[in-house]
Symmetry: C2
Subunit: 464 residues, 2 copies
């Protein structure tokens, strides 16, 4: 834990919060530590106190108190972010929303719902299953819906269902002055003014605290099937993806694992019958005949690039095993070496530039000698490198950072972005200027307008 001096003016805030929230306020070192550390390699930066809020009104109360004393406010969901989003860089109060975990309404007729920010995606889907509905956005971790909105999360299903950008209908937000606003009504579309919903989606707590989220839902498809196809080389796998997307086949999931990632997954997740080769995982949603038709079309495309015969996972348990393996890539990489921690990064490029982006990343990896896995939501042009590094080895950390930086700069040069879905947090701030240029001034003006005291999760997204 890094030392940071506690601002002298915080004591009265801590005292008032303790009096107001009793045992739902904590300054216990273990609690502070847990709230200053996400799942990333960034240095833990614990807050000065943590409030476990139970309602939007309580969040507003805390923000108003912090605003009156110019004390930073850092929203906390499940702590599964990957770019140091929750570190209390200037101290302050962490508002833990995990106890705000009520599903407020499910409107099956309208295919929408409204949940408190602390509801996790698995909790929501368990709740929805009996009604034949589901919420498709799946970033891997069982993140909170509020956190997913705040980082504009996506994941494996985004190629078909979109990201949080497309699937949030409206938000309840506590602003930097402690006002409660709702960003939009419940209608599917609107032209009534500025799109505040989309502004807060992806704002990473820097403009306000998201306390409730209204989401689009989908009917569980009549038929679902999944398949695996292995390729002789990465280019063939990626060409299969590109042609599939261009053909307009409505894939639900199309995921790439490179050979080293596949090797780690075979070992870690006990995937039997597969080789250490570039591999695509497919999932098809639709009617019985629609799924069959999609699968045949994709198998034909893969055949053109000498992909293996599809290995089908027809049963739900086989599919679950496949996607569990996919979700566990992080742990599979971790198991590559005993002293390994995973440093994860993500970029996203136009799909026509995907093959060169991944191939250059692989070539550069070979030159650094780092161990790493590459997995991608390739239908979106988005992929991740998971570096297996010893965090105590300065040389390894620097090598990974250097590789990441070169990959990001190539992505930006190719019309892509420094982060497809993980967000900026602390980790990608240094690339914001390169990616956005003069548009960054507009972002800073918005931040200044909505959080003039810079108390909302300061030090994230925008360079000083």
């Amino acid at each position: 834990m890094q030392a940071r001096e506690q601002a002298p003016e915080i004591q009265p805030v801590l005292d008032q919060l303790r009096e107001r929230f009793g045992d739902r306020f904590s300054t216990a070192p273990s609690v502070l530590e847990r709230h200053g550390q996400d799942e990333s390699y960034h240095t833990p930066m614990p807050p000065d106190g943590v409030v476990f809020a139970e309602s939007t009104e309580e969040v507003a109360e805390v923000v108003r108190l912090c605003a009156a004393h110019r004390i930073p406010v850092i929203p906390f969901g499940t702590g599964t972010s990957l770019e140091g989003h929750i570190g209390a860089l200037s101290g302050g109060i962490s508002i833990d929303l995990s106890q705000m975990n009520r599903i407020l309404e499910v409107n099956a007729e309208d295919l929408d719902c409204r949940v408190q920010a602390g509801v996790t995606r698995k909790q929501l889907n368990t709740h929805l299953r009996d009604q034949g509905l589901f919420f498709p956005i799946d970033p891997g971790a069982d993140a909170s819906i509020g956190g997913m909105a705040a980082t504009r999360a996506s994941g494996t299903n985004a190629v078909r269902y979109g990201t949080m950008r497309e699937n949030v209908l409206s938000l309840t937000v506590v602003t930097a002055s402690g006002e409660i606003i709702r960003t939009a009504q419940r209608a599917r579309k609107s032209s009534a003014g500025y799109d505040l919903t989309r502004l807060f989606v992806g704002s990473e707590g820097t403009l306000g605290v998201i306390t409730e989220v209204a989401l689009k839902l989908y009917g569980i498809p009549e038929a679902t099937s999944a398949a695996v196809c292995q390729f002789g080389d990465l280019e063939s796998a990626i060409s299969t993806v590109i042609l599939t997307i261009q053909s307009g086949i409505p894939m639900a999931r199309i995921e790439l694992l490179n050979d080293s990632q596949m090797e780690a997954c075979i070992r870690f997740s006990g995937l039997e019958g597969y080789e250490k080769k570039p591999t695509l995982f497919f999932e098809f949603h639709g009617s019985e005949s629609g799924v069959k038709e999609q699968a045949e079309a994709v198998e034909a495309i893969a055949g053109e690039f000498v992909g293996s015969a599809f290995q089908w996972a027809e049963k739900a348990e086989d599919r679950n095993k496949l996607w569990e393996a996919r979700h566990n890539v992080h742990y599979a990489i971790k198991s590559m070496r005993p002293d390994c921690e995973v440093m994860a990064t993500d970029i996203c490029v136009p799909i026509s530039r995907l093959a060169e982006a991944i191939l250059e990343a692989e070539k550069d990896l070979a030159a650094t000698g780092l161990k790493a896995g590459i997995v991608g939501h390739v239908g979106d042009g988005n992929f991740h490198v998971g570096y297996c590094i010893n965090p105590k080895s300065k040389q390894e950390v620097e090598a990974a950072k250097g590789h990441n930086e070169r990959m990001v700069m190539r992505a930006i040069a190719a019309g892509g972005t420094c982060t497809g879905e993980h967000g900026v947090g602390q980790g990608k701030i240094r690339y914001m200027e390169a990616e956005h240029g003069p548009a960054l001034a507009a972002m800073k003006a918005i931040k200044q307008a909505l959080d003039p005291q810079n108390i909302m999760n300061p030090g994230k997204i925008l360079p000083a």
Copy 2:
């Protein structure tokens, strides 16, 4: 034309623009008049001068000049807006973008393109056809892509393809200070900072001038078919829509015309073989078998609500006739009476509230004695009333405004919005407080931050 005093400080701006742009600058009364009047009932408010810009740099030059003299800037595309968006309420310079009509790039591999703001949607689709691609957003009018982005337009295809919100990848914008920014890179998704693209989409020229637009494209579907189904009553037609949407059938278009609208269309567009009854127009996109499957599923649903047998429009020319009739509803209403002008309005509600919203609108119409047609993008919960009024009859204008207001307030109470796709302009400003409540303050703060002099299309979207 309403009298308005010319601000004294504008003369030097007019002189400089004339010197700089020669015959691409005009103060001719006919030109001014055309640029102060859209297709709505709002009082024409001509600007003081019109610049026909040919590049983003020229737009930036004009905005910088206006900013230096605090003169309003009003962007102009094709003038097809419906809520008085282009009226120069405080005078100023209209920037006509219609000569910025170049298609800058089409990236077929990435299913995207970049166009200048003055390109119209029909121009784009004509250009794309040979490559097997299309851009689906279709607001009826052959609007400019820049104008469609500025009003967050949608139309008949939105139920499947989304609105401009979902289909703009990035924008080039001239800010209120005359800086040129690009709101995003070309990647399909990104978590790199605030979503400036979505902020400018729907901002109606009040935050900056959109000069270039990057768009998602789609492959022309393998198969397309359209059908018409008529119902004994409105409720049965809407119930068919609701059940179709809930069943997850990926309709490309699902449009409702009420009986009076259908009567007008039969007469105006020579639609033969149809009755004056509540009617649904359907369009299906997909593979041959997919389209067949969708159509059978929808026909079965319609049968449950005693809809007529589907009348199919298999051939492209028959489909075109159908959709031309749909697009010409405006003129069909106009033809209801010789002295008629159409006052169009739109609201959007959660689909579960659609039946009551339309039925109440019809009942209220009957009470006012107004002639009107109702058409709806009902898959989105969005519908329009086109009032056939004599604009010189104060009583008729007031009756239509009163009906509109009651309908809007019912929509807001039902969780809907005062405008699904036409935008706020001048016409819906009065409902912004009712719809957004305290969130309006956040919109105003953003406006103040990005346009501190209030020169960008002043008097639109936000109440004073």
